[in-house]
């Protein structure tokens, strides 16, 4: 029995499953190894405020839930805003060190980090690089190509000419038919520019991705699920682990939604992503109070 079949039968343990056939694999008639990874995003470690009275407890709850998965994921990705911003460089590093220590509780030891603007914009990624390594990179896993982009270290939230040139060179090495997963913090397409929910030169990145037939983008930043296609490219944003934000364009400003004591942790969550098979499947999990 495939793990996916088992999840369907088991009722997902509280998660919700979604499939998309587009960015699938099984190319050239050769089945790939199925696997799954976990995406966590926007943990904002160091945040204090009414929108989450359990700010120091939410991330550990998510980590405990990931550790409790019946079959461990192959790896975990954090798509930015690991920490909440601070003007104090020492405090920024302290928050990152504390975050790293907490994340060290994950049983899965392959963990990939990406910066968000809260981590990297004020010092152009200096502290992030010290603590977590490069801000953009590529890796492969069981026949699926992954490319992690940095659209935050530039305070103007651009990828920049240097990264775009690197991206072009890396993509040129890949079979355009092969499955490609792109990870980033901010949306690469103009979701809500008046809320700064875009990447200033994201169109250039999308143009580079267009020749690739099976592309799926997973990102964060907007603290909620959102699913959109640009051409044949699927974009999926993740829920946050600190506070939810309003649905795109529905409020005056993109400010946190108030904590509801009657429904604590509402709007917070994380996801599993099944890859390597014929379909990319997302299993969305909320945060439980227990």
């Amino acid at each position: 029995m495939q793990r996916r079949d088992f999840l369907h039968l088991a009722g997902l343990g509280g998660g919700a499953i979604f499939s998309a056939s587009l960015a699938g694999c099984a190319t050239a008639g050769r089945p790939q190894d199925e696997f799954y990874f976990v995406q966590l995003s926007d943990t904002h470690w160091g945040f204090q405020g009414a929108p989450n009275p359990d700010a120091r407890g939410t991330l550990p709850k998510a980590i405990a839930a990931v550790n409790a998965l019946a079959k461990p994921p192959d790896f975990v990705v954090f798509t930015g805003d690991l920490t909440h911003t601070t003007d104090d460089p020492a405090e920024r590093r302290r928050r990152m060190a504390e975050f790293k220590q907490i994340v060290g509780e994950l049983k899965v030891k392959t963990v990939r980090f990406m910066p968000g603007e809260h981590d990297a914009s004020l010092d152009r990624g200096a502290a992030f690089k010290e603590m977590f390594g490069e801000t953009y990179y590529r890796f492969d896993h069981k026949g699926v190509h992954f490319i992690a982009l940095d659209n935050v270290s530039d305070r103007g939230t651009t990828l920049g000419a240097e990264q775009l040139a690197w991206m072009q060179a890396e993509l040129a090495k890949l079979n355009p038919e092969a499955p490609l997963v792109v990870l980033a913090h901010r949306p690469l397409f103009p979701l809500v520019p008046k809320w700064d929910w875009h990447t200033r030169d994201g169109e250039q990145a999308l143009a580079l991705l267009m020749p690739h037939k099976n592309v799926t983008v997973f990102y964060g930043h907007i603290h909620q699920e959102h699913h959109q296609m640009t051409g044949h490219i699927a974009h999926h944003s993740a829920r946050s682990l600190i506070f939810p934000l309003p649905a795109p364009g529905t409020a005056e400003k993109p400010l946190p939604i108030a904590w509801d004591p009657a429904a604590p942790y509402r709007g917070l969550g994380w996801r599993e992503v099944e890859a390597g098979g014929k379909q990319v499947e997302r299993i969305e999990h909320g945060v439980n109070a227990a």
Partner: protein
């Protein structure tokens, strides 16, 4: 200084004043973490204006998405930005250079009548 030079300078100054008086209306805006002052600016459709934007503390951005108009605001400098709103309505502007804890609320709008 000879009297003729003084007269010439005075004339030049008057011409400059007249030109400014006939030019677009100028609107001064201050950018400072994490607000624009003023943040609500009335404009008239069809009236050209020049924004004189001064940042006090950071290289903020000034972005008007609906006009695809943006600029960086270097601290200590006045940045001039000309615009002519075409139709009545509301135009949002915001800082689009991440400037810290409060950046997400640094915005404003033009009310165009």
């Amino acid at each position: 200084m000879k009297r003729r030079h003084v007269l010439l300078m005075a004339a030049a100054g008057a011409a400059l004043t007249a030109a400014r008086a006939q030019g677009p209306r100028e609107i001064e805006i201050t950018a400072q973490r994490f607000k624009f002052t003023p943040s609500e600016i009335p404009l008239k459709a069809g009236e050209p204006v020049v924004l004189l934007i001064r940042s006090l503390d950071f290289a903020h951005g000034f972005f008007v998405p609906d006009l695809d108009l943006r600029t960086d605001l270097m601290p200590g400098r006045v940045t001039r930005l000309a615009l002519t709103p075409k139709a009545p309505g509301r135009l949002a502007f915001l800082c689009d250079n991440f400037c810290g804890d409060g950046h997400e609320g640094m915005d404003g709008h033009f009310d165009i009548t």
